[in-house]
């Protein structure tokens, strides 16, 4: 067959394929892998939620919902957000239910960006912001965050990246892939720059329930930030519902209305089964959710201590279910390390550079895995490092 590439638009050609995808293909060819490479909970959606969704199907809820999503669910979301971050959003005008936070990010960027506008993207970060920024004719501007700052976004670094075209700042804390969080003071330190430069913030708070130190603070709750922030959250991580594809955006009614306009033509509405399941999760899912969060926290400590024992430096992640250790001791690149670890020890982790250039020299390990798998994977990583250790370490356990 002849190549059809000439028909593909230049914008699409310019976005690189996801680094994770490349690595996935490699892992898929290997058998008997212990994977710390996933980006989702190891819990199946709690049964009461699955059961409620089955019941809704039995009763024939198989149709479209309104574009914004079931009003009932928007009301439940508004109540939940009031409890979670202390902000009141109007269920009628300020909440839009989307196909995951993924869709919400796409809608928001399409709503906000003119060609050439710049999106400030703190890296390392979740893989989709920069490519979506480019697809929407904007320009993604990486803003570096550093290990020694616990991957918090620092005002001085941000200030250096501002140009007259800066329009949107993405904040996604707790962070995938680093597990870093931003406390109230860290966020407050950014307000000056944000307000002075008239930036809109997209705050992706999908991991916020998985915060292990203190209570999560939303930037939307800080003075002057409510209308300047598009707050996004979803059911995927906290309620172990990745496959249901339900997320939402909350914010100023003009912005939500504009986002709804795109959503109504491109998606129409989020699937009703997912919305029904989300309703059950928000109404009755708190106990199970807390149980899962406690369980991640136990395993967070386990993996962190394991990594220390094998001589890998890792800052203590305080949110999400990832840790992001340095592989400096091996002297390898992230990709070589991951490929080698997979081949020699059959352990899958994700190369840090998949999350931005400055993720080079790190790997992402997801601890949403069984205690046995975590212990075994860490031990195997230890063997791998002993074999390839380039820099002498004082005491490898």
């Amino acid at each position: 067959m002849s190549s059809m590439n000439k028909y593909i638009s230049n914008v699409v050609k310019t976005i690189p394929p996801s680094g994770i995808r490349k690595f996935f293909d490699l892992v898929a060819q290997t058998e008997g892998v212990i994977s710390l490479g996933v980006g989702e909970p190891d819990f199946v959606t709690p049964w009461h939620i699955r059961e409620a969704a089955c019941y809704s199907l039995e009763r024939g809820y198989t149709m479209y919902t309104s574009n914004q999503g079931l009003l009932e669910l928007r009301e439940e979301i508004a109540a939940y957000e009031k409890r979670r971050i202390g902000i009141e959003y109007s269920p009628e005008k300020e909440v839009l239910i989307t196909v995951g936070v993924s869709e919400a990010v796409d809608l928001a960027l399409r709503t906000l960006l003119e060609p050439g506008d710049e999106v400030l993207v703190p890296e390392p970060c979740f893989v989709s912001y920069a490519p979506v920024g480019v697809l929407t004719y904007g320009k993604a501007v990486p803003v570096q965050t550093y290990d020694e700052d616990q991957y918090r976004l620092k005002a001085d670094v941000l200030a250096k990246c501002i140009t007259p075209r800066s329009k949107v700042l993405i904040l996604a804390y707790p962070s995938n892939p680093t597990g870093g969080i931003m406390g109230q003071e860290d966020l407050e330190a950014l307000l000056d720059i944000i307000i002075k430069n008239d930036l809109i913030v997209i705050s992706d708070e999908i991991y916020s329930e998985l915060t292990y130190y203190g209570k999560h603070v939303s930037i939307a709750s800080l003075p002057g930030m409510r209308d300047r922030t598009i707050m996004m959250n979803g059911l995927s991580k906290a309620f172990a519902m990745t496959g249901w594809r339900i997320g939402y955006a909350c914010g100023n009614q003009d912005i939500i209305a504009a986002m709804t306009k795109i959503h109504q033509y491109t998606i129409m509405c989020a699937p009703i089964m997912g919305q029904k399941a989300a309703l059950e999760a928000l109404r009755h899912g708190e106990t199970e959710m807390r149980r899962m969060v406690d369980n991640y926290n136990f395993r967070r400590k386990l993996i962190l201590s394991g990594l220390q024992d094998i001589g890998m430096d890792c800052f203590e992640p305080r949110g999400a279910f990832y840790c992001f250790p340095s592989i400096r001791v091996s002297g390898m690149s992230s990709e070589d390390f991951c490929a080698g670890l997979l081949e020699e020890e059959k352990v899958a982790v994700v190369p840090g550079n998949a999350f931005g250039e400055n993720g080079e020299g790190y790997i992402r390990c997801c601890y949403a895995a069984s205690v046995n798998n975590i212990e075994e994977a860490v031990a195997k990583m230890g063997n791998f490092i002993k074999r390839h250790n380039k820099i002498p370490i004082a005491n490898i356990g």
Binding site: S35, V38, G39, D42, E375
Partner: protein, 162 residues
């Protein structure tokens, strides 16, 4: 966090978690976990450690029955003395006092139905105070002590995802 309850809940699900792993997961000293478990054992909060086994997979076809027992309670001791007489038999795995139409629920295992029939007719019904018994044989185990027997749930996630 109530450390005692947290440890108990964790080992209730997986008795093989080592004290070292538990200590790391909870961010406390291993010595503290050891002491805590010892204390719980002494206080008989922890009674023992079992393994949930699907004997059928080993090709064994032992039988288990649940027996409803009606008992005439005795003055002073109520149901306790007859319950005690029943639970002393090693083939009796569980004895519960029940609300409702009968009094004691007894779980008995044996190698064959004959074993159990013999136990019921010779040992159980002949006890003073036992007025009647109804024996139900277990035909198939779907779930026991939190474990699903037929299709243990497997990890269906993609091995690598964003």
């Amino acid at each position: 966090m109530d450390l005692e309850r947290t440890v108990l809940a964790l080992i209730e699900n997986d008795a093989r978690l080592s004290t070292k792993t538990l200590a790391t997961m909870l961010g406390v000293d291993e010595a503290e976990i050891k002491a805590l478990i010892e204390k719980m054992e002494k206080a008989k909060v922890i009674l023992g450690y079992n393994t949930v086994i699907n004997w059928e997979r080993m090709g064994d076809d032992g039988v288990t029955a649940m027996i409803d027992v009606k008992v005439a309670p005795e003055r002073e001791v109520g149901f306790n003395s007859v319950a005690e007489k029943i639970y002393r038999f090693p083939e009796v795995k569980c004895v519960y006092l029940m609300s409702g139409t009968y009094d004691l629920s007894v779980v008995v295992t044996g190698e064959s139905m004959k074993d159990i029939a013999w136990f019921v007719s010779h040992k159980l019904s002949t006890l003073n105070n036992v007025q009647s018994t109804v024996t139900h044989f277990i035909l198939k185990r779907y779930k026991q002590d939190g474990f699903i027997f037929e299709e243990p749930e497997e990890d269906k996630r993609l091995v690598v995802s964003p």
